[in-house]
């Protein structure tokens, strides 16, 4: 074969390989969605969708009447996720700004790896710390008899989402061209003004991505909330109530449910709701990002 033809062949092979992998990601995502949909739809033969989404009582094994309402679980997931992000975002952004703008390079060399290690702690261990350390501390702080509640779960989730938020925010802040900050400082702005008015807005797309990924981590986390939030089925009335998130519920019940019963399909329906919620969050992030980028231009 001529050298030219060999080169062309290699080019084609490489393109084909990358194309294959790209398509694979889409195939897998579509596959998951189709599986969830196929396993969730049979549930609605017996459960009315309105009851499923608006009833706060979930008791499929009740000897009195089987109830399939997931409102309490949706509320629990939202409560725990929102509070976790409210805690993690300012701290995460603050640490990122500190590392990229203020810290001495030696401090940065030490702190950055430590943050990455924080990301590697297994969720089971974090849950265990929630039961053994954070629970009694919260109990004493609020004068309750136990600390297995939504606040406990939210704090643990914030700890788990922090490394993601910090890493990505810091990378985005560092990617802002130094000409921006130099221009701002040259025009008489203080370092604080430069950070708040120039650097952060310039890095906003990355920071929003960090926020979304952190939130995605918090919504989908199962083991930590399973161990530390008390798993009570009641509708949460406050941060100090025991809650049960959608993820914990699926983890608790999927093992015991006989295949192809209404209960089984209902659990997949919960999974579908979770999938749609995460998808929605990502969609909103995408739209916001695009609108902001348009404004930039």
């Amino acid at each position: 074969m001529t050298k030219q033809r060999l080169r062309n062949l290699k080019e084609s092979a490489a393109k084909a390989f990358f194309f294959t992998n790209g398509i694979l990601a889409i195939v897998v995502l579509l596959g998951i969605f189709v599986l969830l949909l196929a396993s969730a739809v049979p549930a609605f033969r017996e459960i009315r969708i309105k009851e499923f989404l608006t009833s706060a009582a979930w008791d499929p094994t009740s000897p009195v009447k089987a109830e399939y309402g997931i409102l309490s679980m949706i509320a629990s997931t939202v409560l725990v996720t929102v509070v976790a992000v409210v805690i993690a975002f300012p701290i995460g952004l603050g640490v990122a700004a500190y590392l990229s703008d203020v810290a001495h390079w030696r401090v940065r060399e030490i702190v950055k790896p430590i943050v990455e290690i924080l990301a590697g702690i297994p969720s089971v261990v974090v849950g265990f710390l929630g039961i053994v350390l954070l629970g009694p501390a919260l109990a004493k702080l609020f004068g309750k008899t136990h600390g297995l509640n939504a606040l406990n779960g939210a704090i643990l989730l914030a700890v788990m989402a922090l490394p993601t938020i910090i890493s990505i925010s810091e990378d985005s802040l560092n990617a802002v061209p130094s000409s921006y900050s130099e221009a701002s400082l040259a025009l008489g702005g203080s370092r604080w003004q430069t950070l708040i008015r120039v650097k952060i807005p310039a890095a906003l797309s990355g920071i929003i991505a960090a926020f979304m990924l952190g939130m995605g981590r918090a919504i989908g986390e199962t083991m930590t909330v399973l161990m530390a939030t008390g798993n009570a089925r009641a509708f949460p009335h406050g941060l100090l109530d025991s809650v049960r998130t959608m993820t914990s519920n699926i983890a608790i019940e999927l093992g015991e449910v006989p295949y192809y019963t209404t209960h089984y399909y209902a659990l997949f329906a919960i999974g579908l709701v979770l999938f749609i919620m995460t998808f929605g969050v990502n969609l909103v992030a995408d739209v916001v990002l695009r609108k902001y980028q348009e404004r930039e231009q």
């Binding site: 596959g31 109990a139 008899t145 009570a232 025991s242 049960r244 093992g255 015991e256």
Partner: protein, 305 residues
Amino acid sequence: MLYERFKKWIVAAELAMALVFTPILIGQGKKMIQIKGSDTMINLVQILAEEYMGKNPKATPIAVLGGGSGTGITALINGTTDIANHSRDLSPKETNQMWERGVKPRVFAIAVDGLSIIVNEKNPLNQLTMDQVGAIYRGDVKNWQAVGGPAQPISLYGRQSNSGTYAFLQEHVLKNKNYSPDVKEMNGNAQIIEGVAADAAAIGYAGVGYVVDKATGKPMKGLKILNIAKDAKAQGYSPTDKAAVDSGNYPISRALFQSTNGKPGADAAAFLQFILGPEGQKIVEREGFYPIGAKYIEANTKNLK
């Protein structure tokens, strides 16, 4: 150029592979006896399995898993386990499902348990009636004051719906009514005990083998085991009182079961005979539970044939 031509084929090939690989679930492993189910029984059966394998090194290895009685029975119905541990009777729904799937269960009672109601050691109460326990767990009674304790909201700890203990309590103490939605559903007996020991207003339930410290014979650190009376006029008995559990004076006693699909195979049958024999029953007692009585022994022998 070549790439352009074959794009369509690449996509088709990937979709085909995805469709082919997904249903192929290879469920082969080394030949082992699988035992799944009750969290109440898991420690007991694990120790029985270890001692049995120690005495019979050539026997088929035994794997014991948890997941709750519901999980074990489901696994038996689905054919993913050889023996199911369960701490409650089979429900009518489960019996129907077994019928539909052609599963013919043989149930062996291997031990007797006095289901204990535990509170924190700081709680001044020593006794409750069955009705009071039922009312507390149904959520009808929300404060310790209503049953003679301090003015403190009751903090409820329980198991999850896959648990045989949960189902047993619901049937026999809650009289088949719903649990209160405020029960904190913990992931196993051990977590209930930890929770109750740390929470002054707590009430929980667990098998007697879990609440008694085997070394000292006293309740585990931080716990108090309540006496339970059949009604307000009867005498209360403790689940640690062997005579009371045997005679039925302790109102919440139950048998712990192992079930197989049809007549147990040679390996499983040998293990079951070990458990039901004198050595196994001695281990049952050592682990804090009670050995089976005459009426169960007869039924077991019949089922082994």
